[in-house]
Structures are given as C-alpha cells and as structure tokens.
C-alpha cells in the first residue's frame, strides 16, 4: 500500500543521524520531527533564525516572538540559539547544516527540483528554498510520486520553473525511496506492498532497478 504523508515522514526520519543539524521545509518535512529516534541528538534549524527548535507550546504559553519559518508558534530546546537572517543563511550556504528536507512539485533525473512557481497561478515566492537547495550537500525531497491526475512528478526534465539544478540526492515518495545519481533515479526501496512495476509505471524519468528491491521498514 502506498504511504500517506506520515508514512513518508516516518521513512525520511530514518535518514536523520546522531549529531545532525537539520532544516525541515513546510508540509510533509515538518512531520519528520515527530518520528526521529529519541536516542540520538539532533538539532532542528529554522531559517527565520532559530537552532534547537522544539515542539509547539502548550496552550497559553505561545510567544509571538518565537516562531518557525512557517510562522507557527514554537518552543526551543535546551541549548537553542537565536540569530539574524544573514547568519541563518550562513549556516545553510556555508554547509553547516547537514541535512535539508523539503517538498517538491517536480524532480528530474539529473537532480533538478521545482517547488516554487506554477505559471499562471499566484506566485507566493521561493522563500529560503533556493538558498537551501543551492548549498546543501544532502537534500532529501518528500513528495507524492504522482499528481492528482495520476501523472508522474518524477521526471526526465522538470516542466515547471526550477528552484535549483542538479542538487537532489534522494527522493522519498508515497511509493518508493529513490537515489538520484548519474542522471537516473535508482530504486532503493518500495513502499510496503507496492510492486516494482507500479513504481515503474508512475515514474517518467529513467528508473534503474538492480536486484531485489526491499520493502521500506516503516
């Protein structure tokens, strides 16, 4: 069965390692924090200027001055720090953040990502996404494999305006875990009960399938 959003988040959480500084995008990536093992030390960075982000505050304890990049009220963990926007992006651009997890509308087999603009629709802006994808060495994209019409979002070439080029290293969808290298998607894992053939059919880009493909452990 294909994964739901929480399932995708749960699988991505397995990529988070002890000692990692992690930036989580809005949407499915935000859910990843709920599934990270609690026996490892991880700090979440939010590009509006906080490192060591904690869970939402208890009701009545919200502070208008403490929010995340989604403008949601948050708390901080012991050891947290606040800083200005320029320093925040120094952490990102300077490759001090180990892992970036973000959503996408499309990805292509050469690692391009499109997630900020649909021509003809109101453009809200790229926010910090272009800075994140241009610099991070470890970018995992969380997304649905196909759109609502059933068309593949895992493509040979992105059709939408790009957010970044040649930057995506891994994609976790409702159907599969894919590694992006050598101009192809390499199938690493299948969602429980999803066949290789189903993944093939839902993937427009080049898909490399080598040997037995294990099921995700989620």
């Amino acid at each position: 069965m294909a994964l739901d959003k929480n399932g995708i988040a749960k699988r991505i959480a397995q990529e988070v390692q002890d000692g990692f500084y992690v930036n989580l995008g809005i949407g499915i990536p935000t859910l990843v924090a709920n599934y990270v093992r609690n026996d490892i030390e991880v700090e979440f960075q939010s590009e509006n200027g906080v490192l060591g982000m904690g869970p939402f505050p208890f009701e009545g304890e919200e502070d208008a001055d403490i929010i995340n990049a989604g403008k949601q009220t948050i708390t901080t963990m012991p050891g947290a720090s606040f800083f200005d926007s320029s320093m925040s992006f120094a952490m990102i651009r300077g490759k001090h953040v180990h892992l970036t997890i973000l959503g996408a509308m499309e990805v292509s087999e050469n690692g391009d990502i499109a997630n900020w603009k649909i021509p003809g629709k109101m453009v809200k802006g790229m926010g910090g996404a272009m800075d994140l994808v241009a610099s991070a060495e470890n970018i995992i994209v969380a997304m649905m494999h196909t759109n609502k019409a059933g068309e593949s979002k895992i493509l040979k070439r992105c059709s939408l305006p790009l957010t970044g080029v040649g930057c995506v290293t891994k994609v976790v969808t409702n159907l599969a875990v894919l590694e992006v290298k050598n101009n192809a998607f390499h199938l690493l894992e299948r969602a429980p009960g999803v066949s290789v053939e189903e993944i093939q059919n839902a993937t427009e880009g080049t898909l490399i399938v080598e040997g037995e493909i294990p099921e995700m452990d989620v």
């Binding site: 939402f56 208890f58 009701e59 001055d65 929010i67 990049a69 606040f82 200005d84 800075d131 790009l162």
Partner: protein
C-alpha cells in the same frame, strides 16, 4: 555617548518622501516595525519601494500600506497570506521582485558592510539568475547579486538605549540587524527604551553606530500569524 533618541515616531520619520526605498525588518508579522508602518500610513507616503521578507497580511503589517495603495514595488522572498497583494500583483498595479531569502538578507548585510555585490549559489540555473553575471569558483556556479540601496531602514528591537544599541528577543531578530546601517537613515523602534548603561555591552546585538534614530514604540499588537499549540498530557 552620541544621542540617537528622538521623542516619537513623527520625529523619527522626518524626511520620508514619496518614491523612496524603505527596508522593513520582520519575518511574517514577527519583529515588524509596527509604529513606523502606522505612521507611513498616516503620512500617506506613496510610490514607495519596500524591501521586506514578507508583505504582511491583509489588515496588518505591510498589508496596511498595500490596502492604501502606497507601495509601487515589493522586494521580498515570500508574499503569500495576503489577498490584496495578490489582486494588485495580478492587475499589474504592484511590481514584485522575488528574491531568495538568504540573498535578500545578504543584500542588506552587504549594504551595511560596504560590499557592492557578492556571489551566491542561490538561484543559479533558475529564472532568478536571468540577466545576471555568473561565475565558476572551484567547479561550482555562482550568481553576482548587488547590495541593496535604500533611503530608510525601519527596524524593531526588544530593548534599546539612547546610544542606539539594540537587543532582540527570540526570532523577532530576523532581518532587523541586517538592515541596520544598510540604508541612509536607520530608524529603530523598541518595546523598551532603557537608560544608557543598563544594557550589558557583552550582550548588545546591534551596536548604536548602525542606528541614526531610536524611539520608544507604543501599543505593540505583536499579532501571531499561525497559533499552533499542543495539549498538556
């Protein structure tokens, strides 16, 4: 001590004119210069270019200037959550220059620090880089981005003193420190103007040299855009 204190927002905004370029601190509605924005609405300063990460919501923040059709151009990284913004943008009344968030911050900081431009990898290969100089450093491509030029920077801090020193709280810091000293005149409004000597020099976030005018702000609403909470178990 060089005194930067002015008595009120009216005095702080002396010299603002139609057609000027303003920098405004804040991320969403967090850390925005509420007093300066209200005064710009009252003064009905028009045809302005605003450099601000976001554009407020319909009835608060920069949304107030938008409702009043005072803004000619917005330079921002993200402009959702604002219907009037969308209407003006789609009708062509409002010019919008979308800039990656880190580039936006650095264009402020570059202006503050005396750099005419800088190279960044953000936006390379995308429409943001169209028409801009690009260059290869050690096998990776970068885009040349010029520093901003602005007439006024309006920032908001938690505490400050008459010397212009500023201290911020939480994530309301955001773009505010990067905009200090990045415009011809920097106006800082603070929740609490404390006596000179009270701020520990070790803990000053922005030294007063970057601020030309400082005043005690009032009636801060500090609206929360997305109130998210969890229940006590």
């Amino acid at each position: 001590m060089i005194n930067k204190k002015v008595t009120n927002v009216q005095e702080a905004l002396v010299g603002v004119k139609n057609g000027m370029t303003f920098m405004l601190g804040g991320f969403g509605l967090c850390g925005i210069p509420e007093n300066a924005i209200s005064e710009l609405v009252k003064l009905d300063i028009r045809e302005v270019t605003c450099i601000s990460n976001n554009a407020g919501v319909d009835d608060f923040g920069l949304g107030l200037l938008l409702q009043n059709k005072q803004i000619k151009k917005m330079i921002s990284s993200y402009v959702g959550e604002n219907d009037e913004f969308e209407r003006q943008m789609l009708s062509g009344e409002l010019e919008v220059e979308l800039t990656p968030q880190g580039t936006l911050a650095e264009k402020c900081r570059a202006a503050q620090a005396g750099f005419p431009a800088f190279y960044t990898p953000a936006g390379y290969g995308t429409e943001v880089a169209e028409g801009k100089e690009t260059r290869d450093f050690d096998g990776k491509m970068y885009v040349l981005e010029p520093a901003f030029k602005a007439d006024f920077a309006f920032v908001k801090a938690w505490k400050g003193d008459a010397a212009g020193n500023l201290v911020f709280k939480g994530t309301s810091r955001n773009f505010n420190p990067n905009m200090c000293g990045a415009a011809t005149i920097t106006v800082a409004e603070v929740e609490e103007l404390v006596p000179v000597g009270e701020l520990d020099p070790n803990n000053v976030h922005v030294p007063g040299i970057f601020v030309q005018r400082i005043f005690q702000g009032k009636e801060y609403e500090k609206r929360i855009e997305q109130r998210t909470v969890r229940q006590k178990q």
